[in-house]
Amino acid sequence: MAALGSPLRTLRGLLRELRYVSGRAYRDTAAYRHVLAAFRAHRVTSEKLCRAQQELHFQAATYLCLLRSVRQHQALHREYHGRGERSPEEVAGLVGFRLPRQPGGKG
């Protein structure tokens, strides 16, 4: 079986990711309600190795991985890849030049 860790940790991580997604109103979202309901429904069981519980925990861990990696990917994209090319003025400025200004023509 996959090494998943404790369900509580997964749940807390999931709720934190949902908070990052939705902001203040995260407790009103359908996703929050669904996640909590699913975890509550599978909590009470007398079996040590409940298959449904394992399935749910794996799904929750997968969803947590999805939310977390999408957020990290977006942050990396914003930081490194989001800016497009520099304009000619900026490029000239990098080496300390300024583009020439000519009346009625180029520049």
């Binding site: 079986m1 996959a2 090494a3 998943l4 949902l18 997604v21 939705s22 979202t29 359908a30 996703a31 669904h34 699913a38 429904a41 009470v44 069981t45 007398s46 449904a52 394992q54 399935e55 794996f58 799904q59 861990a61 997968t62 969803y63 991985c65 999805l66 990696s69 999408v70 990290q72 990917h73 977006q74 990396l76 994209h77 930081e79 490194y80 890849h81 989001g82 497009g84 090319e85 520099r86 304009s87 000619p88 003025e89 583009l99 200004r101 180029k106 520049g107």
Partner: protein
């Protein structure tokens, strides 16, 4: 860039590019679609669950109504749409993309063709291609990949093996048939998801490990990128390339796995009687 057809909606407006001096144009990334809805909600229709953006129903790129069979999947897709801030970034909405693919089937493949494409990957499975040098990498591959291959061989009662030659391992026809008949037990939607995960991870064995819940997504991605991780350990990590690719692969693999599980499950709640 595909667009969502939502009744009568204006065409995508492209922002004018700024002009530099001398008529030279600076390249700006193309304008993205702004978020045009306030609320995202779910409703149940005849075919399944639908997504509503404000009062409009979401549609696929081929203008079909967006319906999913599972409520949990609908909620996850709605969360994806809800998480878009000022602009809509389609490349982050992996579950939506998967659902669109399943609904539209743009490559027009039937179940048999999908299964064949998936099983064909076994011949070029990452886990079966081993290096001979550097010795540390060969050792690492043996240590990390052999247990997974052994698990797959035991679980499906097949022979896979591994090879260091450029031709790859010799997969017997019985192995292929076993996987074909195993995959035939999944429905069309789940198969689209499975084929997606296989293409992303470049490995059938790892994908089956994920589907059978034998390994986590993080571990599967690590095993798929084993050689890269080895080189990173050796030469250093480049955040804007390595971490970027890692996060993207994790997101795609997680989305695919979640999609498969949500499309192939049927949950029933059995209430146990409390005994005092």
């Amino acid at each position: 860039m595909w667009r969502q057809a939502l009744g009568r909606l204006p065409a995508l407006a492209v922002r004018g590019r700024p002009l530099g001096p001398g008529g030279g144009r600076a390249y700006a990334p193309p304008a993205e679609r702004k978020r045009f809805y306030q609320n995202v909600s779910i409703s149940q229709g005849e075919g399944g669950f639908e997504i509503n953006l404000d009062h409009r129903k979401l549609k696929t790129p081929q203008a079909k109504l967006f319906t999913v069979p599972s409520e949990a999947l609908a909620i996850a897709v709605a969360t994806e749409w809800d998480s878009q801030k000022d602009t809509i970034k389609f490349y982050t909405m992996h579950l939506t993309t998967l659902c669109n693919t399943a609904l539209d089937n743009p490559t027009q493949r039937n179940k048999v063709q999908l299964i064949r494409a998936a099983v064909k990957f076994l011949e070029t499975d990452t886990l079966c291609y081993r290096v001979e040098e550097p010795a540390a990498l060969a050792e690492l591959q043996k240590k990390e990949w052999d247990p997974i291959v052994a698990w797959a061989e035991k679980r499906y009662n097949v022979t896979i093996g591994s090879s260091t030659s450029i031709m790859g391992p010799n997969i017997p026809a019985s192995t292929r048939d076993t996987f074909i008949s195993h995959l035939a037990s999944y429905n069309m939607w789940a198969l689209q998801g499975i084929e997606y995960v296989i293409t992303q991870l470049k490995s059938l064995i790892l994908s089956m490990g994920l589907i059978d819940r034998h390994i986590t997504v993080e571990k599967a991605v690590l095993l798929s990128r084993l050689e890269e991780e080895y080189q990173i350990q050796r030469w250093g990590n480049v955040e804007w390339a390595h971490d970027y690719d890692l996060c993207e692969l994790r997101a795609r693999a997680a989305a695919g796995t979640l999609f498969v599980h949500l499309c192939s499950e049927s949950s029933t709640v059995k209430h146990k009687l409390l005994q005092d």
